[in-house]
Symmetry: C2
């Protein structure tokens, strides 16, 4: 261990901004500002290593620490021209915690430390302001008593209230020096009463008490919980910053304020902030007085908007404001990012108390990144790293107008982002009917099933009472870009009665509600929404991202409209076109059911012959939208019973179409039911046992590809994907079938198209045996949804009862269906990719689960060197940006 | 490539018995017998490498083959003193295929080759027997025409029938030389008519035709299918044996016969076989004449039994029989195993045509192995390898008396071995009621569920209409040692009407049926059964096996009676004691349901308090049976809804017990239902979300262990097993709970017992992350049932619709629930064991799925160096023997 204490101030510092690990964020930035020559009150940082030492040594400090602190404090005294504990000219200090990342629950700040019954009089004399001195003293006792000594703040507040009542005063500002003096006395008495010993008068004892409190707060429960949830290691520790006090409350030439160098909500390049004259920092936050704008322009805007703001700092303190503006430019230029700043003006002199990168909305992040690059402060590559990919979601969908009034009904899970209003309907058919009639509707269901797809398409948004973030409703809605609130458990839907109830309120069919799929909120009535802007900065940043991206980004799309949307969002092909949704269409489902319930191959082929032209049309539409790009089509995957009738009337309809008895059909349907459909007769197992189904699909694909290619379209390269393969033999048998169909179609049509045959790797066995399977595959697509289900043994549809506690207990750091379980599932993905490429180095490998749109999972895929990710259309931009950031990060590390 | 042709005969041979790969089984044994000096007709073997060459070179023979064959044939001519194709003294040969293992569909034999219109006259002169010569010629034309030229044998049979009708003769034996001569002519005409060219008169053409037919038959479909099913590589090829003919049909001093050196049904050490005077080998098989016994004793036995057998060979040909007996002793001593032998006597001279290890029943295998060891022919270790472990199953259960009459009703899957008769019942409660009243019953269900367990226990056997070899019924029945026929799909059960129908027959409740769980057959009425003998040879062989075994063998047992059975079968502890079956007991299920349906922890704890003493009793009983041995107890595993009521009356009962509304209970039960229960809220997920359940179980275990240990029992070491662990954190949390309970119980009781806490490795993620999980585990037990389900993505309950075609199409070489999928699941087992031991070298590792009783899987476990396997009680002896064989094989390889 080296140096325990780092000094800063007077235009120099021992630390730097890049020493955050040692000095914490705050300390590192104070040092940096001091070194830049900015006016920073002098002080020092006790390093995070002291914290680690403290916990490693049974809460003892390193032997030399006291001497180091004393020595450095002396230097501060010299710099300030005051002495700690001096009764004539006392040095006061602030003590603040400063971890690498800020953390709720940690002890934050003690101000005015160094005051006692004697130094307070020195301060009064030095400042020539009794009220200021006694106010500062009582504030110190109050703050130190609360956060260091553990005397609850309500004790102090109560004493102030009693005093004001006694004196008939309403506001703190009406209290005079004498009042604060009396209160300081009562505060000390209260501390002594609660603790059984007096408030410390020794300033050294005060200082070490505060330092100990900061280190002690590192291990309080709230901080530990936060660290656990945010994966912050226990051994990082916190630093402690001790700094000479400056005062914004020394009269009307003093002030305190906070500022962003750009607007954190919009990204606009204009100073944005507030200040208060004659106040300490805490007063700005406390909201007792209304802070004023920093700039004249902001003040005028506010006045135009009907407010009546007081004079701006630009107007009331033009010199200091001008200095401050210069500092802002200096800091932005130095840090090359928008800064969040705290400052104080003490009797006309500006002091900088903090700077850090400012938090911002997605919209602001985008604009600031693009602007900084345009201004030459950062390069385009850096700009690409400045926007959180997940935040883009907010920009791609309509959002609620933040100023619009609203009437909250309930809250569910934010299952698919965006906002939408419409009339409530409880049935998919009804949704479709009303939508065709021009209504905007919200489909409300207990939960959705594949039979509701057409209704979800017709609706503006989807609300379910049951189901998690990865329920059917959530997954399909995200794919379609429809807002969805799922699992709104307070809602009781009575579809027959045409009404839903929630917390005592009734919503009837036809009533208007509004969903915010980004927050999970449901409102009664219509709430105004704002439309997304996809041109401008968004387009610019995405263009830059694409230049640094290595991973291709495809989309999961099953229909021509979804394909179109995805292509507009930049999709470079389709990575997963599911064919089962096509089977649910009203004018097909009877033929599908006839096929499933047929007794023999001849019966199935008769029904499949009816489906062939419809499937061909589906693929033609998709190929046209994706012309020139690859389209991966997954052959039929779900267990057949998913398509079966449930109602007697439906059985009768199918029976009539087949000319058989409805009872026999019901028996056959019963035979098809499964205990665990996820692990049942589905995927390629259907292709093996009923080859005619896949043969029909392959024929539809080849006929469509030829039709599009020989028409005016760009050439199409269909990639036929066999699902749920567990053994090389399944794939080689089915590949043989597909090739035979291709040969037949090509012979009939007298022409051919290039095509690939590959497989989903979505079972652990497939990943383990990927070397053998690769022999029969032109490509692999990791189906990480099913691979997660099988590897961890969790059914996505059933996990809600324990997944939530599991995440809360940190058994899973995140929902493994949202972000790839790198240790478990990721090991299989890595094994599968390695084994596949060992046999076939040019094997094309992608991922097409929900994880294809998750930034952390995309980073993992970049690390494995996969060729592409595929995600739902509305996540394509997120994936493009995440892929670019992953590539840039990889380049840095490489 | 070296030598293509290997000569044998005249007391010497170029080949040996251990050259089966090159010479095939038959050729190698002919060479061996010749080299031993036994009387073998001279001949030669064309090697399997010629077959491989033939297929590698577009059906061309190696260039030197013809010269080699010609040369070796010359040597045979010299030895026999006759010449191939010689019109005066023709050499006749047989041509036979001979692969490494015998294979149906392959061309088998052509006899008498070398006869034509001229040599037949030479043969007549040489033998002095016109009828013999012309009979031989027509046989040759018939056989060669059929198997080499492809002229169907019915053509020839028809011509014989016509001729006999014309002559008014009934039997072939009535036909004279002239008849056979006429028929030989007609046969040749028919061949010419069918083929369009005459029957070959050139003996060289005949020979090469036959050789070509043998090689050609290697690739016919039936042989290919057989090889696929038995994993015989295509490139093994077949050999061809060409051998001088000897004739058992040269009058009354000639004969032909087959023999086993010991009784293949019982193992008795006595010559067992048949012979026919004046006949060729095919006549013994054809069954036209009744063969006679070889030994006097056998003939006398037959006569005593009411038969009227002709003189035995021992009586009719005492000299030759004495020679033959000497040969038998010689061969057994040489091969050190019971032999299956073919021989021919030509005019008083004995010729040996074949010897090989004889097939035998399990009972015979056991006796022969033990006898051979007692006789000093083999050592004990070799004896252990001589019995197929799976065959022991036949010996451990009652079997149908092979002589008892029977009336077959239908056939299902042989789901659990053994035979049993009883009255049909359709309901578990009824089964129990009747059994208590002293009836023997067979429980017949569409399929069984955990609620039927008590009925299965009460029944003599179980019959189900649905479900595979690994259905609930099959697994539980095997565990209990009850015979079970599952998936008898022809049966329709109408439990309400109290009747089942099958193929037009009706079986009412109370009617007696008999099950053969080893064959899958179901009989109407009672069929006599034979009881197993577990002492004597069985006990001896098991004792020998135990001395060579390294793997420990434990049992999967949930009750004291099962534990007792398993211990009698040699189990060395319990590897899997499931606790859920205990929950279904009549006087517990209400409390269990109350626990599940409770709204909160307090409600659950109230119900669990009722269960605690009962669980403690369960464990006490099991600990007593297993005293001194380790007992691994798996905490509650299945999803809770498995325990829920299905009938309204049951809901009412639970509601009354809880004092709540039945409707509310039904809603809660509905909430608990899952789409994929296998991947749902079960296993340790229950322990995490409802810690009180596992805490109750842990308490019951510790209290029981202390009660047994402090009583008169041997010390017990409970091993508490946490199921379905996917992450290290789950295990460490639950281990913490168990340890806390242990501490509390030990403190209360003032004493402690040693215990272990470990986990099932039954999810792919657990195997992948086994290194981390090992940190919190004292032992691993691979739950290969669930691991197979998740790794391959197959639900055991649903797989029947495709698993059968999958095995038939060789996608899976075997049902992966029966024999471990070594490539997929096995890789995870291996990875899990390696990673676990890397972190904790003394980690105890076992396997407790159904595979624990499968010999191939046990061999795999031996290869990984696992510590133990655990299997159902009745498979314990199989596992002991398989483990011994695996250890012996490993020692040989090592």
């Amino acid at each position: 261990m080296g140096q325990w204490v780092y000094r800063f101030g007077d235009g120099s510092a021992e630390g730097r901004a890049d020493m955050k690990e040692l000095l914490g964020g705050k300390g590192a930035n104070l040092a940096e500002m001091a070194a830049l020559g900015l006016p920073v009150p002098p002080g020092f940082t006790i390093t995070t290593e002291v914290c680690t030492y403290y916990y490693d040594h049974d809460r003892q400090y390193p032997g030399s620490l006291r001497a180091d602190v004393d020595g450095t404090l002396k230097a501060v005294e010299t710099s300030v021209g005051a002495a700690f504990g001096d009764t004539d000219n006392p040095l006061l200090v602030s003590v603040r915690s400063g971890a690498r990342v800020s953390m709720p629950g940690m002890m934050d700040t003690v101000l005015n430390l160094g005051l006692n019954d004697e130094t307070v009089q020195g301060l009064a004399r030095q400042s020539g302001d009794d009220r200021f001195a006694w106010d500062s003293y009582r504030r110190f006792i109050q703050m130190y008593g609360d956060v260091v000594l553990g005397v609850d703040h309500h004790h102090f507040e109560e004493l102030i209230e009693i005093h004001k009542e006694e004196r008939g005063q309403d506001l703190d500002t009406e209290l005079q020096a004498e009042d604060w003096k009396i209160l300081a006395g009562r505060f000390k008495d209260k501390v002594a009463e609660v603790l059984g010993h007096p408030f410390p008068q020794d300033v050294g004892e005060q200082l070490w008490g505060a330092i100990g409190a900061v280190f002690g707060s590192w291990r309080i429960d709230r901080a530990k919980t936060y660290r656990r949830l945010h994966a912050i290691p226990e051994d990082w520790g916190t630093a402690v910053n001790v700094q000479a006090m400056v005062f914004g409350n020394m009269g009307d030439t003093s002030a305190t304020g906070v500022a962003f160098t750009r607007n954190p909500a919009t990204g606009e390049h204009a100073i944005y902030g507030e200040y208060l004259i004659n106040a300490q920092g805490e007063d700005v936050v406390a909201g007792i007085r209304t802070p004023q704008h920093l700039t004249k322009a902001a003040r005028e805007n506010a006045n135009h908007a009907g407010g009546n703001a007081g004079p701006s700092m630009e107007e009331s303190m033009p010199d200091v404001f001008s200095q401050l503006s210069d500092v802002f430019v200096r800091l932005e230029t130095h840090y090359r990012d928008m800064q969040d700043i705290e400052f104080t003006v003490q009797r006309g002199k500006l002091w900088m108390l903090q700077t850090r990168s400012g938090k911002r909305t997605a919209k602001a992040a985008l604009k600031i990144a693009v602007d900084l690059a345009s201004e030459g402060l950062i390069d385009e590559k850096t700009a690409v790293t400045r926007v959180e990919p997940a935040a883009l979601d907010q920009l791609l969908h309509p959002t609620l107008d933040p100023d619009a009034p609203r009437d909250l009904l309930t809250r569910g899970l934010p299952a698919s982002p965006g906002a939408a209003s419409g009339s409530v309907v409880f049935d998919a058919d009804e949704a479709e009917r009303r939508a065709k009639a021009g209504d905007r509707v919200i489909l409300c269901r207990v939960e959705t099933s594949p039979e509701d797809i057409h209704g979800m398409h017709a609706a503006e948004g989807v609300l379910t009472a049951r189901g998690g973030m990865t329920s059917h409703a959530a997954v399909v809605a995200r794919g379609m870009g429809r807002p969805c609130v799922s699992g709104a458990g307070q809602i009781r839907i009575d579809a027959k009665a045409g009404v839903m109830t929630c917390g005592g309120r009734q919503i009837a069919e036809g009533d208007v509600i509004t969903l915010d799929g980004s927050s999970g909120e449901v409102f009664v009535g219509e709430v105004k929404t704002l439309q997304p802007e996809l041109a401008g900065d968004f387009a610019t940043l995405m263009r830059w991202a694409d230049t640094y991206r290595r991973l291709r980004v495809r989309t999961n799309a099953d229909t021509p409209p979804d394909s179109k949307t995805a292509r507009e969002f930049g999709a470079e092909g389709i990575g997963l076109c599911r064919t089962e949704h096509m089977f649910f269409d009203d004018n097909r489902i009877v033929a599908v059911r006839q096929m499933i319930l047929a007794d023999d191959r001849a019966g199935r082929e008769e029904a499949l012959a009816k489906l062939l032209p419809m499937q061909r049309d589906d693929f033609e539409g998709i190929f046209r939208e994706m012309s020139g790009l690859p389209v991966t089509i997954r052959l039929l995957d779900p267990p057949l019973h998913e398509f079966l009738p449930r109602e007697d009337s439906e059985f009768a309809e199918v029976a009539a179409a087949m000319g058989v008895d409805a009872k026999a059909l019901k028996d056959r349907a019963e035979d098809l039911s499964e205990f665990n459909p996820m692990l049942g007769h589905r995927g390629c197992r259907l292709g093996i046992t009923y080859p005619e189904i896949y043969e029909m699909q392959a024929r539809a694909i080849f006929e469509a590809a030829i039709a599009v290619t020989t028409g005016d379209g760009d050439p199409v390269e269909p990639e036929i994907m066999i699902p749920l393969v567990a053994t090389e033999k399944e794939l080689s048998i089915l590949r043989g079938h597909v090739e035979a169909v291709a040969e037949a179609v090509f012979r009939e049509k007298g022409t051919s198209v290039p095509y690939k045959v590959g497989t989903m790797i979505e079972l652990p066995r497939a990943a383990i045996c990927a070397d053998r399977i690769a022999g029969a595959a032109d490509f692999f697509s990791f189906g990480t949804n099913d691979l997660t289900q099988t590897t961890i043994g969790i059914s996505r549809d059933d996990a809600s009862r324990f997944l939530d506690p599991y995440v809360k207990m940190d058994i899973f750091p995140q929902d493994p269906f949202v972000s790839l379980d790198v240790d478990g599932v990721g090991t299989l993905v890595s094994m599968g990719a390695d084994k596949g490429r060992a046999v076939k180095p040019d094997l094309k490998i992608g991922i097409c689960g929900e994880h294809g749109g998750d930034p952390a999972s995309i980073t993992f895929c970049e690390g494995l060197g996969l060729d592409y990710v595929s995600c739902s259309p509305f996540r394509v931009p997120i994936a493009r940006l995440a892929a670019a950031q992953a590539a840039i990060a990889a380049e840095k590390q490489g």
